[in-house]
């Protein structure tokens, strides 16, 4: 399992190298625009195409506001507006699905903490979980509004979660007391996320969309697996041998199992997102190297236009 913690480090290093190679001057000198303007540009990107004019209105207004604090407050407000402004379309269904998953995860965790009268440390962990989940939800709500991301991202996440469950076992006991086979983790967190990211790029024929699909898939899979594993703890409780890490007591065992789920949530989400990002980027490179099909020589007598696969 220790090797899994090494993977995000390598992934982050890869991302830093990619950013440097993209624009060395900007990487070394830092961004040329101030933080509020960068934040605002990001927020404007969240808006649906029908609201693009309002995004330009916010950007134009920010340009006339002086003072870093005032600019930052204005930009933060616009981020909030961009997140909630309709129309949402099908993205709303995706966001509601994510909210249901997240609320289920946090609610179940809190319910177990109350039921087993867990200590203060577990409530602190619940607080950290809530903050993490809210952050993940904000990120996901931004992703699902981008065109062509919601459905493939959610399906990709479902696929990753199913592979995880197929390899680890679908039963609650398999979740609580996993029997880890050495070749399973590399397949779960490297091969499959990489393929999902690459498939996202190849399907959309756009590496940017592919990377978004990979990130949304990671969030979906992470949250879904976390909910399932927490349900398993609720169903089994202290069943099976008490965990030594939990001090061999019922409360300690429950606390330890919940904590394991939390670590899995964070590691799975971050690792899968990083590897999926890499897969999408690699597929983008492959796409760039592959020249688009061109018509050469005499024009085909067939009157039917060629359709893109």
């Amino acid at each position: 399992m220790g090797g899994l913690f090494f993977i995000p480090m390598v992934g982050l290093l890869g991302i830093l190298i990619a950013l440097y190679r993209r624009n060395p001057q900007r990487f070394l000198n830092g961004p040329t625009e101030d933080a509020p303007l960068r934040l605002m540009r990001w927020a404007v990107g969240l808006l649906s195409p029908q609201r693009a004019e309002w995004g330009q209105a916010m950007l134009g207004e920010l340009d006339h506001i002086d003072g870093r604090t005032r600019r930052l407050r204005f930009a933060l407000g616009c981020v909030g507006a961009a997140l909630v402004l309709p129309p949402w379309g099908r993205a709303a269904a995706g966001v509601w699905a994510m909210i249901a998953l997240a609320a289920g995860a946090v609610g179940l965790y809190g319910g177990l903490a109350v039921h087993y009268r867990l200590g203060g440390g577990d409530w602190i962990a619940a607080g950290i979980l809530t903050v993490f989940v809210i952050g993940v939800l904000l990120g996901a709500s931004a992703l699902v509004r981008r065109p062509g991301v919601a459905i493939p991202g959610l399906l990709g996440g479902l696929f990753i979660a199913l592979v995880f469950l197929s390899l680890s076992g679908f039963t609650f006991l398999d979740q609580v007391l996993p029997d880890i086979v050495p070749w399973h983790p590399p397949v779960e967190v490297i091969v499959v996320p990489f393929l999902v990211g690459a498939a996202g790029t190849l399907w959309s024929r756009n590496p940017v969309v592919g990377r978004r699909i990979a990130r949304l898939a990671a969030v979906t899979a992470g949250l879904g697996l976390f909910v399932y594993a927490t349900i398993a703890v609720a169903a089994i409780g202290g069943g099976g041998p008490f965990d030594e890490d939990g001090g061999g007591t019922l409360r300690g065992t429950i606390s330890d199992r919940l904590a394991n789920n939390m670590v899995d949530l964070a590691v799975t989400t971050l690792v899968v997102a990083t590897i999926g990002w890499g897969g999408a980027a690699a597929a983008g490179r492959f796409l760039r190297r592959t020249p688009p099909p061109t018509v050469s020589g005499p024009i085909s007598p067939s009157p039917e236009p060629q359709q893109e696969a």
Partner: protein, 104 residues
């Protein structure tokens, strides 16, 4: 389907600020400052008002490579709406018994 909810107090404040000088074009940040609203509340209100045809919008061209600035003012429908709103408020104050008796 568009819901026909009564405007929120914040929306009414924005409408009143715009109605103070209906012919004048206003900037978003100035409006936000005047009615003490954060940008996160102001822009959704402006979008809703524009969607309902209560607001006219325009662009002020940017000078020296600055981006253009969005301007807002009440549309004729918006002016009628504010007038009706104000009348409604007055009507709500009317049911005082002294007023009714004085009318009688």
């Amino acid at each position: 389907m568009q819901r026909n909810r009564p405007p929120s107090p914040q929306t009414i404040n924005v409408l009143r600020a715009l109605a103070a000088d209906p012919a004048q074009w206003r900037y978003g940040y100035d409006l936000a400052t005047e009615v003490h609203l954060k940008s996160g509340s102001l822009y959704p209100i402006l979008v809703r008002l524009a969607d309902r045809g209560l607001l006219d919008t325009s662009w002020e061209p940017g000078l020296d490579s600055r981006p253009p600035r969005h301007l807002y003012r009440l549309s004729p429908t918006g002016r009628e709406f504010v007038a009706a709103l104000t009348a409604g408020r007055v009507d709500r104050r009317v049911p005082h018994p002294h007023n009714r008796w004085s009318e009688a």
